[in-house]
Every structure is written in structure tokens, then in C-alpha cells.
């Protein structure tokens, strides 16, 4: 009996404990249910989105890049097909071995170690590009196709530049530098600055993939949208012609712009390069190009800065007229030099020009006339008019390394050289030497500003940008005096470029100004030396030959600015080139 009672007690305990454990189990079930509720009901949208992201693969298809045309719709940059050897890991387990045998069969010179390292990281269903394939390589590959299960030839697009004379303006493309960039992009000049405009919009292929990235089915396709085309103001024939006129053995540049709207019609620089080598990955040529000490990548038309020489004189004359320091009649006697303090400043014509008025001073490029003017001139007036007429400016036309140049002023000298200005420096500045630094494009713009009477169109390369004018109006009388003198430079006897109208009378009649830009300051003693000009001067210290001209002289339409580095005097070298190019532009009505 006693035993039965304790037994019943212990049964009761078991039943009570059973109840506790059931409650424990029920609580656990409720916790689990609440958690499920949280996952499946409360956070359903979050996980649904995750699950869709998990299975959805978005593959981007590259857009076709916009084409670049000249002003007459000649193609300057387009897209062409390109073939690549692409390996797909999923197609064969033996893919590494196949790459090795492809390499030895076709001599692709692949870096096998690097490739196998990269391949490990690659999704097995997306192809990995091994190398470009030339026609010969494709033919060789097709013959042995049965050997390669994992390698295919895939077509894609590359940039195509039919004319190498535009490389220094259009620029070139480069490989993506960040992982977020999927395709090559413009890295130089217009290809770079118009990247957004040209690039277009990638297409998207939405597909369902499994955990290994294999496409199960395609859901939808968004087609890629071709980038916008770009129409340039350049003229294909003029650009090619102008390039042919640049002496091959000299560095130099020609810029032709339109007087009426600032359109850049051609812009050449020698030596030049071919942008196609970047697209074709011709690595040895690229290396040579980058190491070339002639700097073919430098477009001298806007990145080359030189003292303008005598082509600068119209600015000095205009300042003199504005400040009433001179008029069209007053005369100066040129005896070959002028002195300021204890220093002599020499005219290029040692025996002197005799009596010189403004027109003669420009026509025959008398330095003494301008020295006398400069003695009364404030350098800051020169600087401010220069800036008004297009110098000392960086034109925002999409070109890389476009410079600002230099027009000296008192403030500039104090800030950069920490010295005060000497009047003697005004003398050489007024004839375009000294600190002055201008590019051929700036000089063309300067003459456009003069011909337009002060308010001039900002240079442009993109045909679809509206013409914008800038600058301050000049006194019309002053403008007439200057233009008249510039016409005389070519059209009247004794003009420094009069030879042009004699040697090519059938050409369009032009006006302009010659210039000789000193590379080294000639010592006064050497100036006195009669043999200065005939002296053997080392080639690289020879003067730069400069000419800025416009045609036709009575109703200017085109301006050509020419510089030939170390070419000698402006009248001998640069002027005939400018005349030919202006004549070509005029006769072909570009």
C-alpha cells in the first residue's frame, strides 16, 4: 500500500513534468511560427526582391558609338567589326589546355599564367576574351576548329578612323580604367569631351539564371541605343590639303577658320599620328608614339605656344590709335634702331625704313615705328586689348591640352616673376616678342576679331553649337586703317608678303601679316653683325616662321594661321603655305 502511494505520487510528477515539456514545445513552436511570420509575411517583399535579384541576370550589350562627320557628312570616325577569340569555361573542362594549344597553333603570344588566374574568377557561362583575331588567324582557326570546344570567335565593334589627319582633333579611345566602366571610352580630344554624347545607351538582356550563372531562359531584351552622331565644322578636303602643305621635315601647324561664324575648317599639326593604332592595339607603334621626342601627340595648333612676332603688331597699333598716341598720318623716322635709356632696340631692316607712317609700318613691318609707339604705351593697355581680341583665352571646344598662352602685364610679372615691369619690355612686347605666347588658333581668332571689328565669333568645332560672339567693338575707322594696312602687306609693292601676289597672281587675293618669332634673343652685337642672317644657326635655334592671312582681302571669308617651327622668316616659308591653303579653301568654297 505504501509502495502504491509513492508510485502514484511519482506518476503525478511525471504527468506534471510532461505538461511542462509540452508547454516548452508549444512555446518553441510559437517562436518558430512568429519567425516564419516575420520572414514570409512581414518581410515578404524584401525576400521576394532578393529572390528575384538572385535569379535575374542583367547582361549589358554595348551600344554602337555615335559617328563623327565633317561639315559635309564625310565619315571621320565610325565603328567597324572586330573579331575576338573568346573562351567559354562551361563548354569544355579542358579549356585551359585548349587555350594553350590555340596559343601554340596561332601564335597569339598569350600570357597563359595571367589568363588562367583571371579565368578562375570568371563566371563559366560568360565568355572571356583572349585576344583579337585577324583574318589569317580566323582562317587558321576554322581549319582546326574541331580541336577547340571551348573557344569561339565572337564579333564586336571597334572604332574606325578612316583619315589619320584628324587624329589630333578627334583623339582616340582607351580601355576602361574602373571596374564600373564596361566598355572602352574616349580618352583624348573630342572622343573624350563628347564621350556622353557619343556613347549611347547599353542594351540589357534580362534572363533567369541558376546559381551557377547558367541562363535558363531569356525574359526580355532592351535594345541598345546608338550614341548621337557629331558633326564637325571641319572640312575633309581642306584638312587633307593643308596637311599636305606642311613641310614633312618641319614641325608646324595650320589653322583655317571662317570669319563669319568662327567655324574651324581645318586644323593641322605636323608631325601627326594615327589614332587607329590604339584601336588595333598595335603596342609597338603605341610605344614608339609615346616615346617620340617630336611629340606627335601634341597638336601645335592649340597646344603649341610661340611668341607671335610681327603678326602681333596690329594690336599695338590699335592701342596707339585708341589712346590717340598715333594716327594714320604721323610719321617716325626709322634709322634701323631706336634707343631707350642706354640700350638700342633694332629694326629687322638694319639700314632702316626712313620715314614711316602707320600703314607703312605694318606693310613693311617696321620695328622702330612700334618701338617709338611703345615708349608712350602702357603695357596693361596692350594686355587688355589682347584679351578683348581673343588672346589669353582657353577656348572650350572639347580639345585636350588646349592652352591659354600668355599676354604679359604688370600684374602678371609681379605675380609670377616677382619683378616690376620695365618699359624696355613693352618695346619688345609691342613687336610680338618677349613674354608673349600665342597658339596658331589664337592668332587666327585675333585676326577674326580684327576683321569682325572687335566683336568676334568664338571658335567652334561642333557644327551644331550656335555661333556666339564676344569681345568689344573697335572704332570702325581704326579697324579700316589696320585692315587697309594688312591688305597692303600682300597687295602693295614693298609689302613683306607682296611676293605672294606676284608669284601666284591667279590665286585668290589675300591680306595678312608676316611674323618671325625669335627662338633665342639675339645679342645686340650679333644684330650689328652683317652676317647674322646668313650665319649658320643651329636648326633648333632658328626663328619660327609665322603668317596669318585672310581671303579674299576685300571681303574676308577665311583666315589661315600658319607656323613653321624653325622655318626662318614669315614671308619666305609660312606665307606661301597660307596663300595656297586660303586659295584652296576659296576655290573649293569649303
Amino acid at each position: 500500500m505504501e509502495k502504491n502511494k509513492t508510485s502514484e505520487d511519482s506518476i503525478k510528477i511525471l504527468n506534471r513534468r510532461s505538461f511542462i515539456i509540452i508547454i516548452f514545445g508549444a512555446i518553441l513552436s510559437i517562436i518558430v511560427s512568429l519567425r516564419l511570420f516575420s520572414l514570409q509575411v512581414i518581410n515578404f517583399n524584401f525576400y521576394k526582391k532578393k529572390s528575384v535579384e538572385n535569379k535575374l541576370s542583367i547582361k549589358l550589350t554595348p551600344p554602337l558609338r555615335g559617328d563623327i562627320y565633317d561639315s559635309k557628312k564625310n565619315l571621320l570616325a565610325g565603328s567597324s567589326s572586330l573579331y575576338e577569340f573568346v573562351v567559354f569555361k562551361n563548354l569544355s573542362k579542358d579549356h585551359l589546355h585548349e587555350i594553350k594549344s590555340l596559343d601554340s597553333l596561332i601564335k597569339l603570344k598569350l600570357n597563359l599564367g595571367e589568363i588562367s588566374k583571371q579565368l578562375k574568377k570568371y563566371n563559366e557561362y560568360s565568355g572571356f576574351s583572349l585576344s583579337r583575331a585577324s583574318w589569317e588567324q580566323i582562317v587558321e582557326f576554322e581549319k582546326n576548329k574541331f580541336l577547340f570546344n571551348s573557344i569561339k570567335i565572337i564579333e564586336s565593334k571597334k572604332r574606325y578612323y578612316p583619315y589619320q589627319n584628324f587624329s589630333q582633333i578627334i583623339g582616340y579611345m582607351g580601355q576602361p580604367t574602373q571596374s564600373s566602366e564596361l566598355y572602352s571610352k574616349g580618352v583624348f580630344h573630342l572622343e573624350r569631351s563628347y564621350e556622353k554624347h557619343l556613347r549611347g545607351t547599353s542594351g540589357k538582356i534580362f534572363s533567369e539564371v541558376n546559381a551557377k550563372g547558367k541562363t535558363i531562359r531569356e525574359i526580355s531584351i532592351e535594345k541598345s541605343i546608338k550614341g548621337n552622331d557629331l558633326d564637325l565644322t571641319l572640312d575633309l578636303t581642306l584638312q587633307n590639303y593643308a596637311q599636305s602643305q606642311l613641310p614633312l621635315d618641319k614641325k608646324g601647324s595650320i589653322v583655317v577658320i571662317s570669319v563669319s561664324d568662327g567655324s574651324i575648317l581645318s586644323m593641322n599639326s605636323n608631325p601627326t599620328f594615327d589614332a587607329q593604332i590604339f584601336e588595333d592595339r598595335e603596342n609597338t607603334k603605341i610605344k614608339d608614339l609615346l616615346n617620340d621626342d617630336q611629340k606627335p601627340l601634341l597638336n601645335r595648333a592649340f597646344s603649341g605656344f610661340y611668341p607671335p612676332g610681327s603678326v602681333f603688331k596690329p594690336i599695338s597699333a590699335l592701342v596707339g590709335l585708341q589712346r590717340k598716341l598715333i594716327d594714320s598720318k604721323n610719321e617716325v623716322f626709322c634709322k634701323g634702331h631706336s634707343s631707350l635709356g642706354d640700350r638700342n632696340y633694332y629694326c629687322w631692316k638694319k639700314e632702316g625704313h626712313g620715314k614711316v607712317n602707320l600703314k607703312k609700318a605694318i606693310k613693311e613691318s617696321c620695328d622702330v615705328y612700334f618701338y617709338e609707339l611703345a615708349k608712350k604705351t602702357n603695357i596693361d593697355d596692350i594686355a587688355s586689348l589682347s584679351s578683348n581680341l581673343g588672346l589669353n583665352k582657353e577656348y572650350d571646344i572639347g580639345l585636350s591640352n588646349i592652352g591659354k598662352g600668355l599676354v604679359p602685364s604688370k600684374k602678371w610679372k609681379k605675380a609670377f616673376l616677382d619683378e616690376s615691369w620695365y618699359q624696355g619690355e613693352t618695346l619688345i612686347t609691342c613687336i610680338g616678342q618677349g613674354y608673349n605666347q600665342t597658339s596658331p588658333l589664337q592668332l587666327a581668332t585675333l585676326y577674326s576679331a580684327i576683321l569682325n571689328g572687335g566683336k568676334y565669333p568664338i571658335p567652334k568645332l561642333d557644327k551644331n553649337t550656335p555661333t556666339r560672339f564676344t569681345g568689344k567693338l573697335l572704332n570702325n575707322e581704326h579697324k579700316k586703317i589696320i585692315v587697309n594696312s594688312l591688305n597692303a602687306v600682300v597687295q602693295e609693292p614693298r609689302g613683306t608678303a607682296h611676293k605672294l601676289s606676284i608669284s601666284n597672281p591667279e590665286f585668290v587675293k589675300i591680306g595678312g601679316k608676316t611674323g618671325t618669332s625669335q627662338v633665342i634673343r639675339i645679342k645686340e652685337s650679333e644684330r650689328e653683325d652683317d652676317e647674322y642672317k646668313s650665319k649658320e644657326i643651329e636648326e633648333r635655334f632658328k626663328d619660327h616662321s609665322v603668317f596669318v592671312g585672310y581671303a579674299p582681302y576685300d571681303k574676308p571669308k577665311y583666315i589661315a594661321s600658319v607656323i613653321i617651327e624653325n622655318g626662318g622668316s614669315g614671308s619666305a616659308v609660312a606665307a606661301p603655305i597660307a596663300h595656297k591653303v586660303l586659295n584652296f579653301a576659296y576655290k573649293n568654297n569649303v
Binding site: 511519482s10 511525471l14 513534468r17 515539456i21 514570409q40 546559381a211
Partner: protein, 367 residues
């Protein structure tokens, strides 16, 4: 050894029915895990089930007394089995968990759970004359449980080992140990857990760390939990529908036929389906438990209660793993995870449930 055949009429048919429903759900689930194919998992699992069926009925027909008498023998058999596993076992996935018997890979640790509960039931049955069980009398079963825990933990199979220890503790608790002792030991375990941490293998520590923060390793070990939660969460209230589980059919879910089989189910049948499944398992747990209130024999009560609890407990642990509230320790989902040993041991338990539920205690069985 065997009961009269007519005792089969007393079987709890409802329990058998629920078992079949759950197994059938498991089959459907394995079918969809294979992307709508019986091959390989659903077909194999069904073959195993049919193969195990004679044994299942054999156990139903056993005299409970036979089981009582041979309780220690079972325990010794699994002890030998576990030691054999450690010495000659077949190694897979970094652990030695299986031994090969007659062409089958057998996971002895699964059967350890049953043998341990049966022999502990016998032990406490013998003590039932005494009042509440003191600490001293609880020490032997505790020590035995810990020995088996260690034998399994060093395979290493932490999940199964923890379940074994937990079952041992549940038996001791259920059998009536003074409440003060479990509370004290809980406190002790919590206080020494930092030391226990250092005994865990790096991959086990890893699993627990990643459980606490799956984003530590989203593509490695945390991947399981993250993908499983995505699959379950995207099921929503109604589920995506049969065979419409994209995460599982697109292979985002690893171990989807074994430890993460619940994610497959839940992605297809949603919150509603999951609650129904939990309810089914809860009912399956309660049916033998309710019977225990009508029984007074401690042996019968412990067998019915603790083994029934074992199935439900493993079910909850497994789900908790897949929904990220417990670390991934490798506990199978009863009747739904693909795997022979788990299926066999759970079928044995169900057979025992059916057997013991038909006991009529008016006949004296134990002398």
C-alpha cells in the same frame, strides 16, 4: 517475443495516418527539390520506406516486455557501433559518421538516441518505487548520456550529439528530478560556455559565428542561411505553388534535399503550408503524449513521451536552423530530409509509439 496478431486491431490508426501524410509530404517535397522528378531522391526514399516497412510492423508486434528486457543490450550494441564508427567508419564531408553494414551506410548515432531513451526508461522504471529522484540517482544516466554525447561529438557531429544529450536530460527531467538540479546545471553550463567554446572545432565555431551574423561570409558558410531565408521569405503567405520555387529549382539553395529541405517546402507552400506542417508534427507529438496520461508504468510513459518528443524536437531544431534562429548544426527534418538512417530511426520510433500506445496496462507486463 511477439504479441498476438489481433492486437493490431488496437493500433492508433490516426497516428499511423498522420505519419503517412507527413511521409507523403516529404516525398512530394523531394520530388520538387529535384525539379519535378522522382529521380533521384523521392524514388530512393520511397524504396527505403518500403524496404523498412517489414521491420516497422515487426517492431509494432514486439512484446513491450521484450524491449524492456533487452534495453541494456541495445545500448551496448550502439556503443559498440559508435566505437566501430570511430575506428573503421566511412568518412564523408570531414566527419566519420557512417559504418557499412550489409551494403548500407548506417549512421549509428541516429539509433543511439532510441537506445539511450529505452535504457534510461528502464533505469527510471526500476526506481519508480522511490520518491522524487535525488541528485545521486540521476548521476548514472547523466554520465551515460554524456559519454554518448562525447562519442558522437568527436565524429564530429555536434547536431546529433546535442540531441542525444538533450534527450538524456529530458528523460531525467521527465522522470522527476528535483527542479533545483536542472536549474543549477543550466546556470553552470551558461557560466562555463566560454570555456566550452574553446573546445569546439574551428568549423563549429565558424558556424556559430556565422549563425549570429550570416553576412560575415555571404558567399561561404553564411550562404546557406542567407539563401535559405530568401527561399522561405519569398514564399510569402500563400507560397509560390507546387514546383514553383525558383530559389530551389535554380540551385541557389545548397543541401536542399537534406538539412534545408524545409526551405523547399516553405518556398512552395508559404506561411500557410508551414503552419499546417508545424501543426501536423505537433499533433503527431501530442497523440502518444496524451496516451501517457492513461498509463502508470514509468517505462511506458518515458518511451512514449520522450521518443515522441524526440521527433517533434528535431523538427523544430531543423526549422529553426533554416530560418536562422539556431546555428546550422546538421539535424535532419524527420521524414522529409533525404537520408536512410534518419528515416529508419524515426520509423522505429513511430513503430514503438504504435506499439506502446496499444498497451493495455490492466494486464501486468513487468514483474
Amino acid at each position: 517475443m511477439f504479441r498476438e496478431f489481433k492486437s493490431i486491431y488496437n493500433l492508433n490508426w490516426i497516428y499511423l495516418f498522420i505519419l503517412l501524410i507527413i511521409f507523403w509530404i516529404g516525398e512530394i517535397n523531394l520530388y520538387s527539390a529535384a525539379g519535378g522528378s522522382f529521380d533521384p531522391w523521392a524514388a530512393n526514399q520511397l524504396t527505403r520506406f518500403l524496404f523498412f516497412l517489414p521491420l516497422f510492423f515487426l517492431i509494432i508486434m514486439l512484446e513491450p516486455k521484450f524491449i524492456y528486457n533487452f534495453a541494456e543490450i541495445f545500448l551496448i550494441l550502439v556503443l559498440i557501433g559508435l566505437i566501430t564508427t570511430l575506428i573503421f567508419g566511412y568518412t564523408g564531408m570531414g566527419a566519420t559518421r557512417w559504418i557499412r553494414i550489409a551494403g548500407f551506410n548506417l549512421q549509428v548515432s541516429e539509433f543511439t538516441k532510441i537506445a539511450l531513451v529505452i535504457s534510461m526508461a528502464k533505469y527510471f522504471h526500476k526506481l519508480n518505487a522511490e520518491k522524487t529522484i535525488g541528485l545521486f540517482k540521476s548521476i548514472l544516466p547523466l554520465v551515460v548520456s554524456i559519454i554518448f554525447f562525447i562519442l558522437v561529438a568527436i565524429q564530429p557531429d555536434l547536431g546529433t550529439a546535442v540531441i542525444i544529450l538533450a534527450l538524456g536530460l529530458v528523460v531525467i527531467f521527465y522522470a522527476g528530478i528535483k527542479l533545483i538540479y536542472p536549474l543549477l546545471s543550466l546556470g553552470a553550463i551558461l557560466s562555463i560556455s566560454p570555456i566550452l567554446w574553446t573546445f569546439l572545432k574551428p568549423y563549429q565555431q565558424n558556424r556559430i559565428q556565422i549563425f549570429l551574423n550570416p553576412d560575415l561570409d555571404p558567399l561561404g558558410k553564411g550562404y546557406h542561411i542567407i539563401q535559405s531565408k530568401i527561399a522561405i521569405g519569398s514564399g510569402g503567405l500563400q507560397g509560390n505553388g507546387f514546383l514553383e520555387g525558383s530559389q530551389s529549382s535554380l540551385d541557389f539553395l545548397p543541401e536542399k534535399e537534406t538539412d534545408f529541405v524545409f526551405a523547399i517546402f516553405s518556398e512552395q507552400f508559404g506561411f500557410t503550408g508551414s503552419i499546417l506542417l508545424i501543426s501536423l508534427f505537433f499533433i503527431m507529438f501530442l497523440i502518444p503524449v496524451l496516451k501517457t496520461y492513461k498509463l502508470s508504468q514509468v517505462f511506458n510513459k518515458i518511451i512514449l513521451f520522450v521518443l515522441s518528443f524526440k521527433i517533434f524536437f528535431e523538427f523544430l531544431i531543423n526549422i529553426s536552423m533554416t530560418i536562422g534562429i539556431l546555428p546550422v548544426v546538421g539535424v535532419a527534418l524527420p521524414f522529409m530530409s533525404y537520408g536512410g538512417s534518419s528515416l529508419l530511426s524515426n520509423l522505429i520510433i513511430c513503430a514503438l509509439m504504435l506499439n506502446f500506445m496499444s498497451i493495455n496496462e490492466r494486464k501486468r507486463m513487468f514483474s
